[in-house]
């Protein structure tokens, strides 16, 4: 029972990182109808920035600064590479984002260099006991969960209570109608990319907490694809629920795969993608997605 509870808690910690990444994908998709494949590069760039900043200014300052800088990078990419393609097929823009991903990662890899780089998080691999139980929870998972909760609350408040949030919702609903009402769709596009970049930076930092940043970190961002398929490509709550669900399933698979040794040694790595296939077969628009996405 303790093992099950610990696995679930680890899964929620890992899943919150996936949720942050998936939120970035969904925000861009809702605003622009494009899946941005540049998210993995922004995640890596943000984490690498934190490794450089954590020494001079400390982890707590490094994370928001890196998130803002990565948001700026994403804004720049949107302005230079994506905005000129407005009106072109979404497929073309998606391919451009793939190119952006590769280009940004090549540059960032140069900054990773040869050493094993660390984000300098204050938690390391320390654990905390859940009161009244024998359950140990790693502090980094707790921190990831809390940070995700705060960011999600902030995001939902932003969309619900601010004029820009309202504009983003309007543009997501109907771009032409929003334009007719004076909403700057260009600003909505830019802000969506900026938000996604910032979220990716925070996700990258928590993905590397307790471990290290290397060139392969970006692969974690690919797990966001099963997450948004599960939650629904155009649903923010779906991204959160999907992220937590995928993280939990992945961790439970890792914990109990020993009972099915015929599956091989690392089946947890592919479990999100198996789940994605199953969801696509049964409910292709995801748990919370709108049905029209099915036709895309």
């Amino acid at each position: 029972m303790t093992e099950l509870a610990e696995s679930l808690l680890r899964g929620l910690g890992t899943g919150s990182v996936y949720a942050l990444l998936a939120l970035g994908f969904v925000i861009i998709y809702k605003a622009t109808r494009v899946i941005s494949f540049a998210q993995p590069a922004f995640m890596l760039a943000g984490a690498v920035l934190v490794t450089y900043l954590a020494g001079p200014v400390g982890f707590w300052v490094a994370v928001p600064v890196a998130a803002v800088l990565t948001a700026g990078l994403a804004l720049g990419v949107e302005r230079v590479a994506v905005r000129p393609m407005v009106g072109r097929p979404a497929f073309v823009v998606a391919i451009i984002t793939l190119g952006v991903d590769v280009a940004v990662r090549v540059v960032v890899n140069g900054f990773i260099g040869l050493d094993v780089r660390h984000v300098g998080d204050p938690w390391g691999l320390r654990t905390v006991a859940v009161p009244g139980t024998a359950i140990d929870l790693q502090q980094r998972h707790l921190a990831a969960l809390l940070a995700t909760a705060v960011l999600i609350a902030g995001l939902f408040a932003f969309f619900r209570y601010t004029r820009m949030g309202l504009a983003m919702r309007a543009a997501a609903y109907d771009q032409e109608a929003a334009l007719a009402q004076g909403v700057s769709v260009g600003a909505v596009f830019a802000l969506s990319w900026g938000l996604a970049g910032g979220l990716a930076a925070v996700a990258g930092t928590f993905a590397a907490a307790g471990a290290s940043v290397d060139a392969a970190l970006w692969l974690i961002a690919l797990t966001a694809l099963p997450v948004i398929i599960l939650g629904g490509l155009d649903s923010l709550p779906g991204a959160v629920v999907g992220g937590l669900a995928v993280g939990t399933i992945q961790e439970l698979t890792a914990s109990y795969q020993q009972h099915a040794p015929w599956l091989g040694g690392n089946v947890s790595v592919i479990s999100p993608y198996v789940l994605m296939l199953l969801v696509l077969l049964v409910r292709p628009y995801g748990l919370f997605g709108t049905r029209e996405v099915e036709r895309v």
């Binding site: 890899n109 040869l114 094993v116 390391g124 691999l125 790693q138 290290s212 392969a216 970190l217 040694g265």
Partner: protein, 438 residues
């Protein structure tokens, strides 16, 4: 009018002649050049020129071109591979400054390529440089080298590896140095039984003949020592170790033998310890990087991790180590440098022998390798190491050193046990690549 030939035959003949000429040129290029004999009577064919090397010390000498295929940018062993390559450049510069090899100097800078630890990329790099190099000063990685081995054997291309799989003992074209992963794991078990009283072993390893070879050595050693043994394969990537960690936690072995990259090893040691594992870890030498002492796994590494190594680390006081430090000057110490330096000695010995034999062709170099009964490692390996003429079993080097993390040491590790051949490795008859017995 009297010449009576079809219109256009002239251009066709010219075209045919051009094609024939091109074919001849292509065939000559593919053959890699004919055998020539230089002024001093030494036969040469591919990768040896009468013209001096691009960065020649003595411009009156010819040039021997050696290729390097390494993991230089984004592969899992780049932190080790770049220092290995830099050390090899320094090694051959020292050789050239000391007079070269006979009437030749050696160039290892013209043909350097990145394999990204990918066998296909490795093979492409090899095919590109093959018509231009006599031999390979470095071919990094076991699975990558396996991708070119058949061609190397067919073309008599000798290579110094940057890997330690036991399969190399059975390949004439490979001039390996030090104990292979298989014998290293046996020595690790002998040490762990004596030092920590371990009775059960779990090998966590990458797939392929790097990880499999070490795991096989642990299995053979465990059988010999009456320990229980199990193994689990894992993938490269710090985020892909959850299965391996769970296998450790559920199996609770006394000892875990690790064969993988440093970030993977740190993830396993750190997270297993954080979840309550109290056993020991021993990693083969590629699992270590001094930067791990700044990681979240550092406390666990300092408490539970040790490292085996086929030769002594950077700060050791032998003539070879001194020459290495002197050649490289002020750099951040890393045992990748030590390895690159050590791996270069047998190639130097083989080239010297080939020149002495008057045959610096590929076939001549291979014959020289087969006739080497010892290599002067300047004290970095015991006397008698480098006996390629003795065959796989008798020629195998069987000594291993044990190190533990130490923040005060130059490369982050200090010695626990000097180079020693344990009873298990000494008694083992190397009759085939170990990984076939996993």
């Amino acid at each position: 009018m009297g010449r009576n030939r079809p219109s256009g035959s002239g251009p066709r003949r010219i075209a045919a002649a051009t094609v024939a000429l091109l074919l001849c040129a292509a065939l000559a290029a593919c053959r890699g050049g004919d055998t020539e004999t230089d002024a001093s009577g030494v036969k040469t064919d591919v990768g040896v020129t009468a013209e001096p090397c691009p960065e020649a010390v003595d411009r009156n000498k010819g040039c021997i071109y050696l290729g390097i295929i390494s993991d230089l940018t984004e592969g899992p062993f780049r932190a080790l591979a770049v220092p290995i390559t830099d050390a090899q450049k320094a090694f051959w510069k020292r050789v050239n400054t000391a007079g070269g090899i006979g009437d030749y100097e050696v160039d290892v800078t013209r043909w350097i390529r990145d394999n990204k630890y990918n066998p296909q990329t490795h093979n492409q790099a090899y095919q590109e440089m093959k018509p231009n190099v006599l031999a390979l000063a470095q071919t990094l990685g076991s699975p990558t080298t396996a991708a070119i081995l058949a061609d190397m054997k067919a073309s008599s291309v000798v290579a110094a590896p940057a890997a330690w799989t036991s399969a190399y003992a059975f390949e004439d074209v490979i001039v390996e140095s030090g104990a292979n992963y298989c014998l290293e794991s046996m020595n690790a078990l002998d040490y762990a039984r004596e030092a920590h009283g371990v009775k059960s072993v779990l090998a966590v390893h990458l797939a392929g003949d790097y990880g499999d070879d070490a795991a096989a050595g642990a299995k053979l050693g465990a059988q010999s020592l009456g320990m229980t043994f199990s193994a689990v394969k894992t993938d490269s990537g710090a985020d892909k170790q959850a299965g391996a960690i769970q296998a450790i936690l559920s199996g609770r072995p006394d000892l875990v033998i690790l064969t993988m990259g440093p970030a993977d090893a740190a993830a396993i040691v750190g997270q297993a310890a954080a979840r309550g594992f109290t056993g020991r870890f021993i990693g083969t030498s590629p699992t270590w990087n001094p930067a791990l002492l700044a990681s979240a796994a550092a406390p666990a590494l300092l408490a539970r991790y040790e490292q085996t190594a086929p030769w002594d680390s950077w700060g050791t006081d032998t003539p070879g180590h001194q020459a290495l430090r002197q050649a490289l000057g002020q750099i951040t110490p890393n045992d990748g440098y030590t390895s690159g330096w050590v791996w270069s000695y047998p190639m130097k010995a083989a080239l010297t022998k080939a020149v002495a034999d008057g045959d610096l062709t590929r076939a001549g170099l291979l014959a020289a390798v087969k006739s080497l009964t010892s290599v002067d490692y300047e004290g970095m390996l015991p006397a008698g190491a480098g006996n390629y003429a003795a065959g796989p079993n008798d020629g195998a080097v069987r000594v291993t050193a044990v190190y533990r993390p130490d923040r005060a040491a130059p490369t982050g590790v200090s010695q626990v046990r000097p180079l020693t051949a344990g009873p298990t490795a000494q008694a083992y008859a190397l009759d085939g690549p170990c990984y076939e017995k996993l």
